[in-house]
């Protein structure tokens, strides 16, 4: 069953397989599983694959593999099963990540809570209440898109772009949270800060997160976060557990 799946061009050497144009948990699972199946085919002329929130990107060499031929292979795989019903991959990790919210490290917390229709304290409680899944890595190396917050957190991006949020900025929009890998401009709202580094050349693995992993934020005081930033323990003081 793949009636609602779209196979679309993205650049002259790219194809996007989109499982949904809306944020959707089953579509995220489908993207993770579909990418793994295509990778296992080891197709000559397929140079790169990646999964995002609800889609899979494939880069191919048009002088080796024709778009039509690749589309046919993809369609055949799409027709083989109900991709929206596949389970999550095995061997996933739960990360408990200290973060501070509001104040000087979360300048947009109040506005975000307001848009979500809750108080800032309740906002922090709701963000930290449950583990959030790594829906995709993207934007910058190792940076996770985390979801899903409850539906009242479907808050829009800002119309103006914040010229720069710092590395470790915890930002929110459209039912998701992102801890920023590097300083960067963003249209999302900064609600907190963490010492967790999404890409750390001094650690093994350098990119700690994989799609499908989960992050549970542990709220700490600004003073405690300052200590973690200062002492920089491995993974910003985060603890790991195996998800079963």
């Amino acid at each position: 069953m793949s009636d609602d799946v779209e196979v679309l061009p993205l650049g002259p050497d790219g194809i996007l397989v989109r499982f949904s144009d809306q944020l959707s948990e089953p579509a995220n699972r489908a993207a993770l599983a579909f990418r793994a199946v295509i990778d296992a085919l080891n197709l000559p002329g397929l140079s790169e694959t990646a999964s995002s929130l609800t889609s899979v990107f494939l880069r191919f060499q048009p002088d080796v593999l024709r778009r039509e031929a690749l589309e046919e292979i993809l369609q055949k795989q799409l027709d083989m099963q109900n991709w929206h019903a596949v389970p999550l991959p095995e061997g996933r990790t739960l990360w408990r990540v200290p973060a501070t919210f509001g104040g000087r490290y979360g300048p947009d917390l109040e506005e975000s809570a307001d848009l979500a229709g809750v108080s800032p304290d309740l906002a922090i409680n709701q963000i930290c209440a449950n583990p959030l899944r790594v829906l995709a890595l993207g934007f910058a190396p190792g940076q996770p898109y985390l979801g899903f917050l409850p539906s009242h957190w479907n808050i829009p991006r800002k119309t103006d772009v914040t010229p720069e949020v710092p590395r470790g900025a915890v930002v929110a929009a459209v039912r998701q949270i992102i801890p920023f890998a590097n300083a960067a401009p963003t249209g999302w709202r900064q609600i907190g800060l963490t010492a967790f580094r999404c890409h750390d050349p001094t650690q093994e693995p350098q990119i700690p997160l994989s799609s499908g992993d989960e992050i549970e934020f542990l709220p700490v005081s600004a003073a405690e976060l300052d200590r973690l930033l200062d002492e920089s323990p491995p993974f910003g003081g985060a603890e790991r557990a195996v998800l079963t």
Partner: protein, 336 residues
């Protein structure tokens, strides 16, 4: 012994660049590398340096460099005011420096990204499959005075100087449809190809902002799109409908809708557009886009075939005064 190129002075956006890091999309790393890959490849082709090498990219402002040993080098990309030990040099050509020679790229006259390629290439350490500075990716840093860059072996030191013609710049810039093109109403897409945009002063290796007189290129639901993959060359409309064309160091996933993707073979024109330059776009079909696609290797091979010998360039004649050309405009000197 390894030869070095010494950075004596560098503008704020001078960095080592290459063809970029491939295969990083899955972890959130865009390809990066030279902002104008065609000009970068031209530098390699002029010297016969292989594609997996690295060069120096100067954006907006140049720099001053000293050669430790005799070195062949090429200048490509933006038109620059460059001298070797005081003698003016041609852009789009290869040259030879003596031991101790100083190359001064004092200004970029037209365009944005200038490339200094050296025979043997720059052989700084490879990180994650590349040598280039990638700010959003967190790799490398801009070059600063005092940097000593190790150079590889020149395998053809006797090659005579060569030149390459500038790439053709005619016609509107071609855009192919992408996954979000249909989110834009047909009259909005029509306006996108009708309008003459002006390259804004806001531009860097991540993207170029386009200015225009108009209301903006919005979709119905601009701020709540599910984030999805971005391709280099995508024309992204931010929250207020302002277009940005995304370049080498763009993010890998983004939530702003994109009206289409500039063809890779036309993207150098966006990268090299100066602030204030007019830019016009036209849509082409996926089939047309594919027909225009060429592998990096085939672009390199074609540029190599297009090189011609560079002989008796008046710029390099030490006794120029004796030719009695001194009173003629410098353009005539070049063409004569």
């Amino acid at each position: 012994m390894t030869r070095h190129l010494i950075v004596e002075q560098a503008g704020p956006a001078v960095s080592v660049q290459d063809m970029g890091r491939k295969g990083g999309l899955g972890i959130g790393l865009s390809r990066g590398g030279a902002a104008d890959k065609l000009a970068y490849i031209q530098g390699l082709a002029l010297l016969g340096v292989p594609l997996d090498s690295a060069s120096i990219e100067c954006a907006g402002l140049g720099g001053r460099f000293r050669f430790e040993a005799p070195t062949r080098f090429a200048l490509t990309g933006a038109e620059m005011r460059a001298t070797l030990d005081g003698s003016p040099l041609e852009t789009g050509a290869s040259h030879v420096a003596n031991a101790g020679s100083t190359l001064d790229i004092s200004a970029i006259v037209k365009g944005v990204y200038a490339y200094l390629t050296v025979a043997g290439g720059i052989i700084t350490d490879v990180e994650f499959g590349g040598r280039g500075y990638h700010r959003t990716g967190g790799f490398g840093r801009p070059l600063t005075s005092g940097d000593r860059l190790p150079l590889g072996q020149d395998n053809a030191p006797e090659t005579p100087p060569l030149r390459l013609p500038s790439p053709l710049q005619a016609g509107p810039i071609r855009v192919m449809p992408g996954p979000q093109t249909t989110l834009f109403a047909s009259d909005v897409s029509q306006e996108f190809t009708d309008v003459t945009f002006i390259r804004s002063t806001r531009a860097n290796r991540q993207g170029v902002k386009l200015d225009y007189d108009g209301t903006g290129f919005a979709t119905g639901d601009q701020l709540n799109q599910v984030s999805d993959f971005i391709s280099e060359g995508d024309v992204q409309m931010t929250g207020d409908g302002t277009p940005y064309v995304l370049l080498a160091d763009c993010q890998t996933i983004g939530g702003y809708p994109r009206i289409g993707t500039v063809l890779p073979c036309d993207l150098h024109r966006i990268a090299q557009a100066s602030a204030g330059d007019p830019l016009k776009f036209t849509f082409v079909s996926v089939a047309e886009a594919e027909a225009s696609w060429a592998s990096d290797q085939s672009v390199y091979d074609a540029q190599k075939r297009a090189t011609t010998p560079r002989i008796r360039d008046p710029h390099e004649m030490a006794d120029l005064l004796s030719y009695e050309l001194i009173d003629r405009p410098s353009d005539d000197v070049v063409s004569g």
